[in-house]
């Protein structure tokens, strides 16, 4: 029994020493990883500054024409910072992105529509601007404002419209095609173009209910909170998009 007790004490002592060493090792590794992440943050911030100043050759020439239609998804709380939204739109205009859809779930941006259009000066509403002129010919910025009601609710309204158009009465009842639904969405005012690129500003990495019908092949990039928006990050995201080659499943 004495021997057993002694052995147990020895094993316990060894275990405690071992735990202390593991704890020390854990702290050292934690410190190394923390320093690593800190260094990565500093590097990103530095890179953004260089991009903003136009010092990085790679980002000097930006084929922004490839972004024919860009969507901004903004967290509704952050969307209340209208000045930040306007700053973002001004950056996009400076980069050469002319057609933008602004989306937030609660419709905060829709309510700030007038203020945003006034502050931007040369901006027009998408619906008015595209009546007779194709997207690429515009000299001014076109803005579309969307909210959750333009997503799932709009599809429900479109379904109702399709039923009313084709299933009431005695006319031939077709099998609905994608063109039927797209046309119905346009008829109810929710038929904007499919964005090429969708930038998400907020705390969650999801598109927050952006109209589902329109994002089949849209590139989705999470940009972080709107308050941390950086011109350099914007350029980087657009540059990365211009390098993408989609094969659309083929």
């Amino acid at each position: 029994m004495d021997l057993e007790d002694e052995m147990q004490k020895v094993f316990c002592w060894i275990a405690q020493i071992g735990n202390l060493w593991f704890r020390l090792l854990w702290h050292i590794l934690h410190l190394i990883l923390s320093l690593w992440y800190f260094a990565v943050c500093i590097a990103h911030a530095f890179e953004n500054s260089l991009i903003s100043c136009g010092l990085l050759k790679r980002y000097k020439v930006l084929n922004s024409g490839r972004v024919q239609y860009l969507a901004l998804v903004v967290d509704s709380e952050e969307a209340r910072q209208t000045s930040k939204v306007i700053e973002l739109l001004q950056c996009l205009a400076a980069i050469g992105v002319k057609n933008v859809c602004l989306y937030d779930t609660e419709g905060v941006l829709k309510k700030s529509k007038k203020a945003i259009l006034e502050r931007l000066g040369n901006a027009k509403l998408f619906e008015e601007a595209t009546k007779n002129v194709p997207l690429l010919d515009k000299k001014h910025v076109t803005l579309e404002f969307a909210s959750f009601s333009d997503g799932k609710e709009a599809v429900a309204k479109a379904a109702n419209l399709l039923f009313a158009k084709y299933y009431l009465g005695d006319q031939e009842q077709p099998i609905f095609t994608e063109s039927h639904l797209a046309e119905a969405l346009r008829a109810i005012g929710s038929g904007g173009p499919d964005p090429d690129l969708l930038l998400v500003y907020g705390h969650t990495r999801c598109h927050m209910g952006f109209p589902a019908w329109r994002i089949r092949y849209t590139e989705i990039v999470y940009m972080g909170p709107l308050k941390s928006m950086k011109y350099g990050s914007l350029i980087k995201a657009i540059h990365k998009f211009t390098m993408v080659r989609q094969n659309y499943g083929k």
Partner: protein
């Protein structure tokens, strides 16, 4: 980057919590109780074996009483075997995966395209096992898009034969592991033999409840929404519902994901670094966390899945509402 991820997983950056490692060796059980030893979540092993053994089960400290789990009295080895750094209450219930990059994986290794697809099947097996082990209820995988029909015929035919072989080979495993299989997509375009096999597999596994594996084959998110609208129009025409009742909820009920009780994925993973959803579950992804992994699908294993889950657990999900 892989080393950093593995180290950050194994040596959690969260504050250290002390846990008890339940070793079930009868020689040291009394010692564990008397000495109240503390071990940390850090494991000296960089990889956990796929089959967790009793020796490396780690449970939360306050869940363990006398070597058994306090909330049910089940033995320690029967509790959810979550790796260190994952919190049970934050695990996603429904994970969706776009299994992209099989062909690129093969080309990088100068292998034929078929090798990439076969490697992809192996990766899927691993993921299914992990989901079973970690308590994920639904796993939806994008196996074949409606756009993929435009690929070379020989490739499409190979894929169809792979689906057929895979379903036949795995059916016994699904029955044994209590996995329900469901197929969504336009099955009318699939070979008849595969259609029949799918129907039989769905029927045979319909009462299984451990994991629901939904395989999207010949699937299009656009078509899913469209057929829901079509279905509703027919129901209104037949007097089953009123036109005024057409709303989002009704459309949701008609989507192909109505085969599951949890139709909305909590987490979507797409491999190969592509940043889009490519016509997959368009309606269902409104508030789904999106995780874009750099690795190609055949290389997506336990470490990569852990990274995605950890990233998911660190995010703040509000489903469009404000913080309370």
């Amino acid at each position: 980057k892989t080393l950093v991820v593995m180290l950050s997983l194994q040596f959690s950056l969260l504050p250290i919590t002390k846990t008890k490692t339940c070793t079930l060796s009868p020689n040291f059980k009394p010692l564990l109780h008397v000495q109240n030893l503390h071990c940390f979540r850090a494991s000296p092993h960089l990889y956990r074996p796929l089959c967790a053994t009793a020796q490396n089960v780690i449970v939360e400290e306050n869940d363990v009483v006398n070597g058994t789990v306090a909330d049910g009295g089940a033995p320690a080895q029967d509790v959810l075997l979550l790796p260190a750094g994952l919190r049970r209450e934050l695990m996603p219930k429904h994970v969706a995966v776009i299994m992209d990059g099989n062909r690129r994986w093969a080309r990088m290794r100068e292998l034929p395209v078929w090798s990439g697809y076969e490697a992809g099947i192996r990766a899927l097996r691993v993921l299914v096992e992990l989901c079973c082990r970690w308590g994920i209820r639904v796993l939806t995988v994008f196996a074949f898009s409606s756009d993929n029909w435009f690929r070379p015929k020989v490739e499409v035919d190979f894929l169809m034969s792979l689906f057929e072989k895979g379903t036949k080979d795995e059916l016994d495993n699904f029955l044994r592991e209590d996995i329900q299989i469901s197929i969504i997509g336009d099955s009318s375009k699939l070979p008849e033999s595969l259609q029949e096999l799918i129907t039989n597999a769905e029927e045979a596994t319909k009462h299984n409840s451990r994991l629901q594996l939904i395989v999207a084959v010949s699937y299009s998110g656009h078509y899913d929404i469209l057929q829901a609208c079509q279905s509703i129009a027919l129901k209104v025409k037949d007097g089953l519902i009123e036109p005024e009742e057409i709303n989002e909820l009704l459309i949701e009920q008609e989507l192909e994901t109505n085969c599951t009780e949890i139709p909305y994925p909590d987490l979507l993973i797409r491999t190969s670094g592509e940043l889009r959803v490519s016509n997959f579950l368009l309606w269902q992804l409104a508030y789904t966390e999106l995780f874009f992994a750099q690795s190609h699908w055949p290389d997506f294993g336990e470490a990569e899945f852990l990274e995605a889950l950890r990233s998911f657990q660190q995010r703040q999900r509000r489903y469009g509402s404000r913080d309370s």
